[in-house]
């Protein structure tokens, strides 16, 4: 039953990679629904075109389900947000097309959202962090960022592959199967039984990182057949996460903030959480781990960031709603985020 004044909600669509996610939030930041349908490839990594085809097929159903679960009418939708980039072209385009169609149907404005910024904003909403240094680690991204003078700034990032990608490729190369669980989680389980530490290349450059040399070394160590896989998983994790902890610590010491936010798919890892908590403790800062549902790619983060931008009057005209494959988070004036800082 609708009251005279309907609720105002934002529907957000996330399609940067293998997930088609839809989230609905009201303007106070209550998550009314957050639904996702993942493309699961038969083998190997993501194939952008196949994933995009999957997204196009499920789009209608996922949007309907999200609306139904949120218990709203389409008239309640005051704004439609979508992930505009960075991401895989075909996947982004499918989401943008769905968002344009929905916005036109509802006759409401469209807001294009930066995927990386959305990860930070939903992290802040769900952990109540005000102004954190964020470590965002996933299959496609590895970066340390913080807000400063009107923008999210990148302090460090990978110079080659993303850390989740590094773990996944390693897992696949040593023959691990996923059975529905992410490969990174399989590596985590095995690493718990590791005892002996094996030396692997450690590569930190300033606040940037490089993983490909380490990945190659770990795989070739395995192929020699003389090392125990549990020990190798353990050593890989210890090395990779020490690198992440170090650059986060460097950024934290540099910008002197009081919170450390951990998000992205790899944030589910207990050992990484433990290390970052120790880093935060050492610098009298608060560790804020984003709950899994909101650390993975999700529609809610797009909807929430859409609301923040919409409230600032930042909407995206149709003519500017083209997807931005390599959109960097420091390319955007994030003036809505200035409110909490200081």
């Amino acid at each position: 039953m609708q009251t005279a004044k309907s609720k105002q909600v934002c529907l957000g669509i996330e399609t940067t990679a293998d997930d088609f996610g839809v989230g609905i939030l009201d303007f106070e930041g209550n998550v009314l629904s957050n639904v996702s349908n993942a493309f699961i490839p038969d083998r190997g990594g993501i194939h952008p075109r196949e994933a995009a085809r999957h997204h196009a097929v499920v789009a209608g159903d996922v949007i309907s389900l999200a609306i139904q679960k949120a218990n709203i009418w389409t008239e309640d939708i005051a704004v439609v947000a979508f992930s505009q980039g960075p991401g895989l072209g075909p996947c982004l385009r499918t989401g943008a097309t769905a968002a344009r169609a929905l916005a036109a149907y509802c006759e409401v404005p469209l807001v294009g959202v930066n995927h990386c910024i959305a990860h930070i904003e939903i992290g802040k909403l769900t952990t109540e962090a005000q102004d954190p240094v964020t470590l965002y680690v996933s299959g496609g991204n590895t970066m340390v960022s913080a807000f400063d003078a009107g923008r999210y700034r990148v302090f460090g990032e990978t110079l080659d592959i993303a850390v989740g990608n590094c773990l996944d490729v390693f897992a696949r190369e040593v023959g691990l199967r996923s059975d529905g669980v992410p490969l990174g989680a399989v590596v985590e389980q095995l690493s718990r039984r590791g005892k002996e530490f094996l030396d692997l290349p450690y590569s930190v450059k300033g606040m940037d990182l490089s993983f490909s040399g380490l990945l190659t070394a770990a795989i070739s160590l395995y192929r020699k057949g003389t090392v125990d896989l549990e020990n190798l998983c353990y050593s890989l994790q210890e090395t990779v996460f020490s690198m992440l902890a170090e650059v986060t610590e460097r950024a934290l010491a540099h910008v002197e903030k009081r919170e450390v936010l951990l998000t992205g798919g790899v944030a589910a890892n207990k050992r990484l959480q433990e290390m970052l908590k120790a880093v935060a403790d050492e610098h009298d800062s608060l560790f804020c781990g984003v709950p899994k549902e909101y650390a993975l790619d999700n529609g809610a983060m797009i909807a929430w960031t859409g609301i923040l931008k919409f409230k600032e009057g930042l909407t995206t005209p149709l003519a500017e709603s083209f997807v931005r494959l390599k959109w960097r988070l420091d390319d955007e004036d994030a003036r809505w985020a200035a409110r909490n800082v200081g």
Binding site: R151, I161, N165
Partner: protein, 224 residues
Amino acid sequence: MKMHGGLQEMLVRKGAEASLFLEEWQGNQVILKHRIPKKYRHPQIDGRIRSYRTLHESQLLHEAKVAGVPTPVIFSVDLHESKILMEFIEGPRVKELLITLSLEARTLLCRQIGRMIGCLHKNHIIHGDLTTSNMILTGDGRVVFLDFGLGEKTAALESRGVDLHLMKRAFQSTHFRIAETCFAAILEGYVDVLGKILANRVVKKIREIELRGRYISGRSEHEH
């Protein structure tokens, strides 16, 4: 500090990696840089990193000086404890100084920094952590370079590109309003020392590093 016990000492700075103490040693003011153990990482990684970087830093500080780039004089090194005792450099850090300067003075300073980076690279030294907090301007107008723990000895184009890319990003994240003019001046100084041809190849490399689609190439490289 056991190494030079009994003397007056003062914590001047707790960096991410190291704690720095201002001490008196044989009548001089000196800096003690101590890389402290990190409890969060495996002791083997921790030990390896700290002693490796201490050794490396002391060697590169010396080699940079030989190459004509001002660095603090090293008095002693303790690899076991990961401590370096070095000359205390008096003066403001470029990080704090930069915003107080006029455009003209800033450009001159950045050109000088660029020439010094050129000297390092020409002598196959990569600094590894080029930020404005690792440079001090002394009373006699020299820019002293600090913090070589992440450096390496190589002439590889990739390493030179990454080194300058880090410098550029340090400006973008910390001095964003003046980043462009500053970095342009740094490149001018760099070209002066390395020559147009070589410097241009490095500049191209920087662009390549920036354009590397981390998102897409990262995935496709290993997955198709």
